[in-house]
């Protein structure tokens, strides 16, 4: 019975993937990609990787899809619609893709025996960081340097987007995200849903210590609430020179780095936590990161400034 479910899922995913490639319209391709992300999150659920499933649904399907949709709307219709590349290019692209797929298949289908895994070690030492969720322990304790750099990359991505701002608009606000036609339904949704979204976001982060959930999922939900408010036109995106905004962007990574250096002083290594205080420190870092992730994701979707700064 569960085999049937898995087979149906696999077929649906292949269909969504092929649809993403074959469809000619950019926006349709992005919508197909969002569907693919949601289906993939179901696969992660089937593999009992609930943390990954949550991230895939929130980031892979939701946030990335929204960024791509905005990019579609922003791009000029430069591509020659309906004109296909020559047969040589098509065959070369097909062959290279097949080669990459074959390489991946070889790796996945013939893993070394015994499979190299640190899972046992991770589970064995989890008590030293005071957490119950091994995924959070890996992300914020064992491999915290990776997580720190990942957050710094987010800040760099935002700087990259802001760098696209024309000189005249520097310091101004990104273009309004407001829907072209006012809608009572959207307005109501944007007024009623955010308190619940904020609650869900806090729940995801707090719960992430011992159960599936975590910073990135919580931050994405928070960003989604902000974007909903901006799309309903209740608030417009703030100017990118706003001091508070920029401080929020770097707040999470800055706290993380400060905790890292404090680790040298308290227990001898960069980013090491004193065992007695590991959990409170990790939760504090997560709380700071959630705010930054939410603000960065919201600003990434809003895009570069599109209005001259207000004097």
């Amino acid at each position: 019975m569960s085999l049937l479910v898995d087979l149906v899922l696999v077929v649906l995913i292949l269909m969504a993937a092929v649809w993403t490639i074959l469809v000619r319209d950019r926006r349709d391709a992005v919508i197909a990609f969002i569907v693919l992300g949601l289906l993939l999150s179901l696969v992660w659920m089937r593999l009992y990787a609930v943390d990954v499933a949550l991230t895939e649904a929130a980031v892979g399907g939701g946030a990335t899809g929204l960024v791509l949709l905005r990019a579609c709307a922003r791009l000029l219709p430069v591509e020659a619609e309906g004109r296909l590349p020559g047969p040589g290019t098509q065959i070369a692209a097909g062959l290279l893709s097949a080669l990459a797929a074959a390489g991946l298949a070889a790796v996945v289908l013939h893993p070394p025996v015994p499979y190299p895994s640190l899972a046992a070690l991770a589970a064995e030492n989890i008590h030293t960081v005071g957490l119950g969720n091994p995924v959070t322990a890996v992300l914020l304790a064992y491999r915290s340097l990776d997580t720190l750099l990942e957050k710094v990359v987010l800040v760099l991505a935002l700087i990259g987007v802001w760098a696209l701002t024309p000189d005249a608009f520097w310091g101004g606000a990104p273009g309004s995200l407001r829907a072209r036609h006012a809608s009572g339904a959207l307005d109501l949704l944007a007024r009623v849903l955010p308190p619940f979204g904020v609650l869900v976001s806090i729940y995801l982060v707090w719960n992430g210590a011992d159960h599936p959930g975590g910073t990135f999922q919580g931050g994405t939900v928070l960003a989604a609430m902000w974007l909903l408010v901006m799309m309903a036109g209740l608030r417009d995106p703030p100017g990118i020179s706003l001091k508070l905004l920029r401080r929020l962007v770097v707040f999470g990574p800055a706290v993380f780095i400060a905790v890292g250096f404090a680790g040298i002083w308290m227990s001898g290594w960069f980013l090491s936590y004193p065992p007695d205080y590991a959990k409170p420190i990790i939760v504090a870092v997560e709380a700071a990161l959630v705010l930054s992730i939410a603000v960065i994701l919201g600003l990434l979707v809003a895009g570069p400034a599109a209005e001259p700064p207000k004097r």
Binding site: H181, S183, G184, A185, L186, L188, L189, V192, L193, F196
Partner: protein
């Protein structure tokens, strides 16, 4: 007592699935966007509602039950708003009577 609760779950979840099936058939078979939306919302509201209702006797504590109900309410709210938005889009783009 357990048998009674279990049979309630089976009946309610099955009824919910029937609504999902009907909603899907409607989505595929109905002639235009508004009637298709009508079919979809039945699956969302009644289908999910009956499944949640059916699962309630199976949860270990009150908090889990409240979470299930919260999921149903949130899906209701989001689904209704999305349907409204799609319907408004359809109405704007169709030629007036």
């Amino acid at each position: 007592m357990n048998l009674l609760l279990d049979s309630f779950t089976v009946v309610a979840v099955t009824a919910g699935l029937v609504f999902f099936l009907a909603g899907t058939v409607g989505l595929l078979r109905f002639p235009d966007a508004l009637t298709r939306l009508h079919a979809l919302t039945k699956a969302d509201n009644l289908g999910l509602g009956l499944i949640v209702l059916g699962l309630l006797p199976q949860v270990p504590d009150v908090v889990s039950a409240l979470k299930l109900i919260a999921i149903w309410v949130l899906v209701q709210f989001a689904g209704t708003s999305a349907s409204q938005l799609i319907a408004q889009f359809v109405r704007r783009n169709e030629p007036g009577p």
